[in-house]
Amino acid sequence: MKFNSWFVSSFLISLIVLIPVITVFASFFEATSNYYEILKNTFLIEYIFNSLTLLLSVLLLTFIIGTGAAYLVSFYEFPGSNFFKWALILSFAVPPYIYAYSLTAFFENYGTAFTILKNLFGEANYNKNIPKFDGMFGAILSISLSLYAYVYILARASFLYQSQNLIDLGKNLGFSRFKSFFKVILPAARPAIVAGLSLVAMETLAEFGAVDFFSINTLTTGIYNSWIYFDDLAFANRVSFFLLLFIFSLFILENLSRRRAKYHFNSKGGFKQKEKIKLFGIDAYLAFGFCFFIFFISFLFPLSQMLYWTIKFPENLFDLKITNLILNTLYLVLLSSLVLIIFSLISNYGNRVSNNKILNFLSTLSISGYAIPGVILAIAFITFIAWFDDSIVKSFGFSSIKKIFIGSVFGLVLVYFIRFYSLAFNGIKSGYEKMNISVDESAYLLGYSKRKTFTNIHIPFLRNSLLFIIILISLEIIRELPITLILRPFNFETFATTAYISASEDLLEAAAVPSLFLILIASLFIIVTSKYILRENHE
């Protein structure tokens, strides 16, 4: 076992990523305040029940929307099918909490729906006839319409790479279109759909903004509330422990299904490109109607609602320090991308040149950060720094280091690093997997040193992957709420935190401007990378 620089850096990265998990597990046995006893007897069951209700409903809805839309655009040609192919991923630009604001803004008493009806039909008491999408139902809708794209992208990739032979086989056995879908197409895509649903599940359990806005008590909001209102870090960590156990089982499930998904996609032999079936008449209208409805309610609706309020209350636009928000966002995005890319490159390159089993294991550990909800990461990080400061730093007589890590850009970037490391690591890894190791060896034999091989061969080859990863990281950071909310420096705001703060003060119209900017910037990133997302995701 050689303890070279690759090993040391991989070990350090894994250690940093593991800090929150270790902290949560270590805190499990600590004493907590009376709040725990009160809560255990009253609300804990409610937290678990609400989390499960939310999870199962979102899974069902995202499955129907994601798989349905993917099936239509992959197998059929109808008006707009090429447009919907990529437009349906735009819902990623609308985080669940912004969707929740739009939903409330539109359907609340005297909201946008009321104004529309009033303008069309004159004054009347429409409020009692306008449905209210709030509470649990609102949360389910907000999360589902934002996250269905995970299922859509993976299912579409799976459908796309299903061989024509498979479809022909169904026809040959005399299956109807309906039967073919349930007996052939869906089972063959099952691993990909399960992988997509697992991602949805992890995101749903981690969701903070929308559930907090609708005042739903889930495990995640319980963790946040016990910290922010009762100052009980130990209890927050105890609830985190339960949530983590649940998420890790999902994580394992997702990994298992992904492994199978890979197996399914590798059917190079016998692959025959499918020809799309052209739909006519009522079928074409129905397919268009379904896709347009999804596109409208998931993207156009929140976008227009935010745009409407921005135009209606232009003073909010001028009150907001847009330049500051853009600069802050840019600062976080650039710094985090740089750190993530550098460390992920080191780790991947280390794995490639040393091919060491322990290194591989450490890398696998270090990508687990993505499965841990942002709230848990941030609170566990604070717990760890507080412990480290009190027990180690101060015992050696040094001055407190809390300020360096908590409420600082450094601390924020460090936790972003833990959260998004798997995104960067896996992105570069999949880039590297397309390059046979004999390419490196050929370079050595052409007289290239390891460093020159890295700079002259690897970097140019990975250039597109790196760009894609930077955009994905940017997209995540722009949308990210709980970590930024908990760890940001005083007076340091992003579009997400500004929107959240305004919304939590019941100033939804003020939340519209930052939300609109967030949607527009995120949409731009999605459009730039859409070709890549839709082409590459099967790998």
């Binding site: 397309k434 046979n436 004999s438 050929s442 050595y444 034999l445 052409l446 007289g447 061969i457 080859f461």
Partner: protein, 353 residues
């Protein structure tokens, strides 16, 4: 210190901790010689090339080029400092560069040395890759990628060129032509080369010496004629799969006796005491057809090989003997017919085990 251009002494070739080929020793005497290593798939031929190139380490024996030790238990010169080029069997072209750029990267190294005479134009013509120069590796066929990779390796003008199954993906119709051109360019540029292949005809044609690797050992290292006609072990005979071994008894310093074939005369490659029971190698060319002979066996199979037929005959003791007949022979024998063998039987080199 020996005067050999390249030398391997008592090396165990391994991948990780798994030994693939044990205690190998062979040498290339002069610069510009071509040798071929022959053996079944998975036996460790590629491991030998990778180790010579410096991509795998050794902990026993030594590898030396031009009198300088490259690998030993203590020394391991990095691949980039060996001036050895290896053309991999699989596509190892840089995926983000065109074929032209890939080849030019090899030429950069050549320019630094400016020693021997070989230019890219000549190679491009020779390997017939002018049509694919502006394409990327994923846009060309496996055979084209292999030829492009070969061109890139050749143009570096290494001290030692290693080719791993260089023509395995090349179309059969094109193979002989490429073999001829490859041999010509290697000879003209005096490029010392080790070629790994599982095709014995390719090895016999290209190599001035051939090494046969079987059962984790280098069984024989000799010139192609000797490897074919004077195999030194039963394993080599079985691997080349051209002859059979039949039981015989040595009756004099120049003859043996077999129950089915009777007396066989010739020169023993290795002497055996009179009265020894041996296994005699009979290759298809050793026996001659004669319709007038009274030594007749039943035909049980006939293979048409273009220039010749190989008849398989069954003797009264149920031994199956292969016999070579020119395809322009005036008549053919069908299965179940009788087939005459010319007597007396004389074999130039008698190989016995």
């Amino acid at each position: 210190m020996s005067n050999n251009f390249f030398e391997i002494k008592n090396v165990d070739f391994k991948i990780g901790n798994k030994v693939k080929v044990k205690n190998v020793s062979f040498s290339i005497e002069k610069e510009g010689d071509i040798i071929c290593l022959l053996g079944p798939s998975g036996i460790g031929k590629t491991t030998i090339l990778r180790t010579i190139a410096g991509l795998e380490n050794i902990n026993k024996g030594s590898i030396a080029l031009k009198g300088k030790t490259l690998s030993s238990e203590k020394i391991n010169i990095e691949p980039e400092n060996r001036n050895i080029s290896l053309a991999f069997q699989e596509n190892s072209l840089f995926p983000h560069y065109t074929i032209k750029k890939n080849i030019l990267l090899g030429a950069e190294r050549n320019e630094i040395k400016k020693s021997k005479s070989i230019n890219s134009g000549e190679l491009i013509d020779l390997l017939d890759i002018s049509q694919i120069l502006d394409k990327f590796p994923h846009e060309i066929s496996a055979g084209e990628a292999q030829r492009a990779s070969l061109a890139r390796s050749l143009i570096t003008q290494p001290d030692l060129l290693l080719l791993d199954e260089p023509l395995s993906n090349v179309d059969q119709s094109f193979k002989e032509e490429i073999q001829e051109k490859l041999k010509k360019v290697l000879k003209n540029s005096k490029t010392t080369t080790i070629i790994v292949t599982h095709d014995s005809y390719e090895a016999f044609y290209l190599g001035s010496k051939c090494g046969i690797i079987l059962n984790q050992e280098l069984k024989q290292f000799d010139d192609p004629y000797n490897v074919y006609h004077l195999p030194n072990s039963v394993e080599v005979v079985n691997f080349l799969n051209r002859g059979i071994l039949i039981p015989a008894e040595v009756t004099s310093p120049k003859s043996l006796e077999n129950k089915d074939l009777g007396t066989i005369t010739g020169n023993f490659v290795k002497p055996f005491p009179i009265g020894s029971k041996v296994k005699l190698l009979i290759q298809p060319e050793d026996l001659h057809h004669d319709d007038g002979s009274n030594l007749k066996f039943e035909v049980i199979d006939r293979k048409f090989r273009g220039t010749n037929f190989i008849y398989t005959l069954k003797t009264p003791t149920n031994t199956l003997i292969p016999v070579f007949v020119h395809s322009h022979h005036i008549h053919q024998h069908e299965v179940d017919e009788k087939f005459g063998i010319k007597r007396p039987i004389h074999i130039d080199h008698i190989v016995c085990f």
